[in-house]
Structure formats: structure tokens, C-alpha cells
Amino acid sequence: MSGSPVAGMMMAALLAATAAGAAPPLRLSPEVRAIESQRQEVIERVCRSTVAIFERSAGNGGSGVIISDDGLVVTNFHVTAPCGALMLCATSDGRVHDAVLLGLDPTGDIALVQLIGEGPFPAAEIGDSDTVAVGQPALVVGNPFLLAEDFRPTVTAGVISGVHRYQYPSGTLLEYADCLQTDAAINPGNSGGPLFDGSGRLIGINGRGSFEKRGRVNVGVGYAVSINQVMRFVPGLRAGRIADHAALGATVATRSGPQTIVTAIETASDAYRRGLRAGDEVVSVEGRDTPTANALLNAVGVLPAGWRTRIEYRRDGRLYEAEVRLRELHAPGELIAAVAEMTPEGDPPPEAPPEALYSQRDGYANYAANRDATERLVDACRVDSVVGAVDRRYADAAQGVGVQLRLTESSAEWLSPRGEYSCDPSRDLATQATPLAAPELLGSLWVWRTLAAGEAAVLDQVEALGALPWEALGEPHDVLAVTHHGLRVELYFEPQTGRLRGIEGSRDAALDATRVDLGAASQPGAPLSSMAITVGDRTFAELSPAEANP
């Protein structure tokens, strides 16, 4: 069929344009050039930190993003699940790397993976997803429909369509709290890939869309897990864990106003012990206003289990404030079962990952990663001066008395005019509640001495937990968790200095823990020089070094 006259006319017009090629080239204003070259630079940069993830048999796949130059990659759990422990990650320069699974967050659908090979890797710049506003430009980069055969990722552009979205759990576990919504095209294969802002800062991990009757293709409605949530979980995932999300331990409903009202609360929750009751209005959590049930689910759902936070609540017109420790969202074993269900069974991979990088143990995504992280923290516990016994004298400002603390390999003693207490660590620690007002105190201090003296091997279980704040609204600390003879002891280390900040001992999640605050200014190498000891809202002792030993 011959071309229509219209097409002919267009051809003529094109040819005329070519003939007039001698005319001066189109001049762009310097401003336009600058914006365009910046845009090109951003796209170039965001592509470099995006990876394509494949099953080793090259069946399933998805996308991911490099978040540190030593090769940590964040992706979706549902992308890594069919791959098992070992997978392939392709960078945009065309190289294919082996990669090993580190940790899993099944609730947030997040997996952390370690690239194996020569670094440094081009890490994405981490943004602050809490400051993202509706209407801002957004870039989605990834491997939709597994198109990137040369591993150059696909880039789609759009805007932020919504922030603080709450997406109800789909199926059993998956919950998208406080996620970002974008109209940049997200298709199957984009899962696990990055959402960037217009400056190329990483603000989210794409993984879900509204599809319904259009089929599984982009409809201009995609969701990304906020990067702030992801980064809170990264330390725990890096430690090889299957991480759980936080829960308040209460159910809430939105009433007109709007207000968020507690409809029921578990008596075993810390929130209950700190005074929250059914009928109270929750005003804020973690410094975020919670006028609706969705807002509360958003504020809590982005936090790892065990997170210490501040809640504000109103009763009879009066505002109360409390510091609470959030519990786990899931029952013990629930996440492990879910992970097992999604992970391929039977045949071990033909090439097993090196034992140094991966080992399997029930309850962990990668036990080798946990072992390494645990070793680092156990080393940080060592105090050269603690070789044999610890024998120190303090002044207790809370009671106005002197206290002598003695910790040895086989005992812990607290001697003061108020009373003399001791515990025998060879017996069950949970039942030796002395002193009664701080039942976990002596067991916790004995655990610390054991670690400080380099005797961790005698403890039942020692493992890196991830990062949790020692104080509500404070920065997260690296946490080492010890379980020994019925007692659970957590030690909090400042991430930059490695300095021990506090020790928390508990026997039962339904009871208040004993907290030993070593102060923000304690000297490295001389921990336990000062201690503020609290149980729930009560102060048990405030110890500072005695002026001179008598």
C-alpha cells in the first residue's frame, strides 16, 4: 500500500528540514542545559547502584539496590525466596556476582543480600523518606519483566502519589506500613528495586502495586517500603536474623474527631504496665501524631520488634506520656514457619555457599552472618581490667548509702546497709530474684562480667540482635542478647564508639525489666563506673564511684 498524501507531506517537511541544516543549531539556555545534564547524571548514578537479581537457574528474578560500598543489597523477600541462600546479582556494568542471603524481614517483604566479590560497590545515597512530599519527582529503576539482558536497568519516571499509606496485610504476614505511593511504572520484575527522589537519593524499595482487573501490569499505582523503615531493620538483617516488626499490644479504632481509641489491650504488654488502658486516646507514638488507626499502624509498623519508644495518650482530657518497649508482632515460630514455607525445599544448591559466608541453623536466615556479628560485639565487651573479680564501691544517691559490688566467675554480690544480696549463676537465674526490687540486677551484672572477662563460652546463648534505641527517640544501639539459665540480658553498644551504654535484664516479657544505665558519658575501658538502676518507673539505685575506698 502506498503512503498517504499526508505521510508524503511529512516526508517532504523532514527533507526540507534537513536541507536547511546550514541554519544555526538549536540553542538551549544554560539553565536548561544544566538541568538536563544534572538529570542525566542522576540517572547514570541511580542505574549504577541498581542490580538485577536472578535465581541461579536463571528462572525467577527481580531487582535490588546496593546500600553500602561493601556490597550490601536490599531487595524483596519474595524475590530471594525462590533462590534460597545463593543467588546471582548483576550490576549495570554487565558483571554478574554471586550473592548470599544475610537476613529476612518477611513482614516488610525485605531481604538483605551480600555481594561476593571485589568492592567497593557503587552504593546508593540514602535519603530520608519521612521528608518526601506528594508531587515530588520519583524514579523507579529495576528489571521489569526481566528485560535487562545486558543488566542495564530500566528507568521509569513519575511523581510521589501519596505518602504514609497503610496497606493491609495481604495473605498472612505481609504488611506495608507507612509506604510511599508512586505513579512511576512498576511492573513484575521491579520488585525489590529502588525508588529514588529527583536528586537520586534512595527513598524506598518497590514491591507492590494495585492491579485488580487490569492484570499484573502497571496501572500507575505502585507502593514502596520507605527506606527509613528498611534502614532500621538493616543491622538485624546484617546479623543474619529473621526480623520481626513491633506491635503495641493493643487494638485501636478510629473515632470521629478523628481520634484513635484503644479498644483492647494485652495486660502482658509494656504499654499496659506503663498505664495505657482500653478507652484511652493514643495521641502520638515515636514522636508522630496518631489521629487515626492507620496513622498508629504506620508509626508502629515501621519499627523493629523490641523498639523502645514514647507514647502520648489522653484520658479524661489529661495528657500522659510513657516510655514503652514494643513487643513482637508475631508469635514465636510464626515467621520461621512462613519463611520455611516460601523457601524451596529439598535439593541443596549444587554449589553450596562457602561455610564462612553461609550456614544454616533453625531460626536464622544465615547463621554465619549472625556468628560474625556476635563475635564483633563479644569482642567489644572485653575490658582488660576485668580479668578475675570485680570489686567496686559506690555511693548510692537514691538511698544515701554506700554499696559494694563484687562480681566473680561464680557469684555476684551486692552489699549495702539496705541489705546484702547474692546470686549463684550455676543455678537458675530467673528464680533468684534478689534483690526483690530489682530481680534481674545481679544476674545481668554477672553476665556482663563474664563477657568483659572474655568468658562468653560459658553462657548458654549469645547472639547479635540488630539495633535498638537504648532510650525512647534516641539513636539505635547495637544489641547483644544473652540467654543464660532463664535470664535474658541485652547489652547496648553505641554504634560509632562501641562503648557499652546500658544493660537490660528480663525474666518474663510480661514483667518489667531491670535496666542498668551506664550514662552517656562513661569512660571507655571503665564501664560500670556510674550506674542508674531502674525497674519500670521506679529507680532502684543511682551509683557513682565512692570518693575513696574505706
Binding site: 498517504s4 498524501p5 499526508v6 521528608t131 512530599a133 506528594v134 508531587g135 515530588q136 519527582p137 513519575g158 511523581v159 510521589i160 502519589s161 501519596g162 504514609h164 499509606r165 497503610y166 505511593q181 505513579d183 494495585s210 485488580e212 482487573k213 487490569r214 502497571n218 496501572v219 500507575g220 499505582v221 478510629t254 470521629s256 478523628p258 489521629p291 487515626t292 492507620n294
Partner: protein
Amino acid sequence: MRANHLLPLAALAVLGLSPPARATDAGGAPAASVVSNAQDAVVKLFGAGGVAGLEGYQTGVFIDDTGALLTIDSPVLDGGAVALVDALGDRYEGRVEGVDRLTGLALVRSESTEPPPAWIDLQPRDAPRRGERLWVLSNAFKIAAGAEPVTVQRARSAGVVAMPLAGGPLGGPNRPPIGAPAPGTPVLLLDAVTSNPGAGGGLVLDESGEAVGLVGAECRAESTGAWVNYALPTAAVAGALERLASGASAETGAEVANSSRRPFEEFGVFLIPEIMARTPAYVEGVAPGSAAETAGLRPDDLIVAVGGASTGALQAARRLAAESLRQTGAIELLVLREGEIVEIVLTQPR
């Protein structure tokens, strides 16, 4: 308290001014404040449905301070009453006042005694330029609950065309679609996936925050399965409001089309009679000595585009011609003659 706080804000929205960005917009694009102002006039509608693939929710936009709002006709409005959730999260009843058959728009009145948080003046304005950047706000997929702001999408105008489809998700071969504009109605095509469950009645803005249209009902071509992403431009909205006000809400599309200006006849062009909804725009005759004859138009020419916008049906050709005449004083046509496309420009003789 509410009126004091909100009325000035609403007034700003109406004037298209951008008040200082809110605290939450710190660091945001200036565009974000345009969008967040308009959010206050958008309302979430909940009504019948929620079963058998029918959504029980959609979008509406307040158009004045009395609580009148426009949305699209759909099964959600069955029963004549809907639940409204405004931008503040306040919930009240709404009553359906009328439906305009030509555009598929429905007028709903809020039963609240308070003025709405904000409203949008849907004065007719020129359609956006092709390629112009637009914002689309809608309650798509019922993502936003309570006071949460609805989904914001970016789109570009792909031009104003005559509504090509008679079908829709609910319109089988023998059943007219509910809420879809009559074929030939001028609609604003969008280049983004804006036609989603619940998006109908959503607000389309230009970059300055001025309203350019309302998202139409979901429509799907029966032959290709493609969904059309489109909005009803403000001119069509104004027409719908006029008809609704005059009580002509039951008027059919053909009646409305026939009552409007007859641009072709002014140039001496006679089209074939409109015997069915999608009558093609064939030229039946050209008056001797007329401007149309001078321009080279002949009987049996089929008009396939007017003013650069393709048109499938007679009604659309008339409407676009009237629009083109009003704007430029001329009508540019592409006609199909013996398998070839011929360009004809009708200009008024001096």
C-alpha cells in the same frame, strides 16, 4: 472554628493562588502546594456496590460553598444516597440531584450544614495544550482512608478528541454503559493510567492549580480491551451543569448535539442525517458557490479529523468544528476520499 480556619484557604484555592507552603511541604516542590490545596475540595464517595466486580466507591469534587459536588454516574449512586468523606475526614450523607446523560456526570448535594473544606470553580476554559503537564487527583483503589489525601498522578494532555467508544465495563452490546460520555462528546485524553477503579469523578488540574476537567467513568473498547484514560474538560462540565440546572438532565446526547451551533451548515456543508448514535460524518452535499465548494469539499467525503483531532462520529465532528470555529475562525478538516486523505480548510468568505 472550621469556617474561620478553612474558608480563607478555600478562597485561595478558588482563585488559583498558592498560599505559603504548609509546614509538611518543607523541601517539597512548589507543585506540591498546588496539589495539596486542591486535595481539600476532593471528596471520597461510598455507596452501593462492592460485589460482583463493582466498586462501591469513587471520587467527587465540591464545586461551591453550598456542598454541591460533581461525580460520575455509576452503580455507586444507585439508591440516590451516598456517604461522603471530605478532606478533613468528616463523614456525611449526600443526595443525588441529577445525572447528565451526555457527559455521564452526576450532581450530588451534601447534607452537611457546614460548608465543604474547599471547592473548585469549574469555569469553562480552553482545553489544555497537547502535551501540557497536568495533575490528576482521585480516590483510585480506595487507597486513602478518612482524612488521608487521595492519589496524585502526573499526566500530560494527549488532546481533546471525540469520545470514540460506546462500550464500557458495564455496557454490553445491548446495554448502554453507565456513566460513560455519549460517543462523540469531546473528552480530554490523558497519557497516564488514570482510569482506575474508583477514579471516576477525580480532579484534573494544570500546573498552576486551575481545574481543567474531571476524570470520566471507566471505559473499555470491546474490540481491543484497551481502557481509555480521559477526563471531561471544563467546557463539557459547564454544559452538564447548565443542563442539570435547567432540569434537562434526562436529555439525550443527540438532542443536545442538535441544539448546538451548526458550523458545517454555515459554510454550505450538509452532512448525512444522524440516524444512529455513531453515524459517520459523511458529506451529503455541498452548496454551489459556497465556501466549502471553493475549498474543494465534495459529496461523499468522510470527515475523519477536525482541527487535528480525529473523529469517528458525526456528533463529534460537529462539536469539534464549532470549537475550532470559535477559537480560530476556521475549520481544518482531513477527509477520506477514495482511499486517500485530503486536507481541506474552511474559512469564512470575506
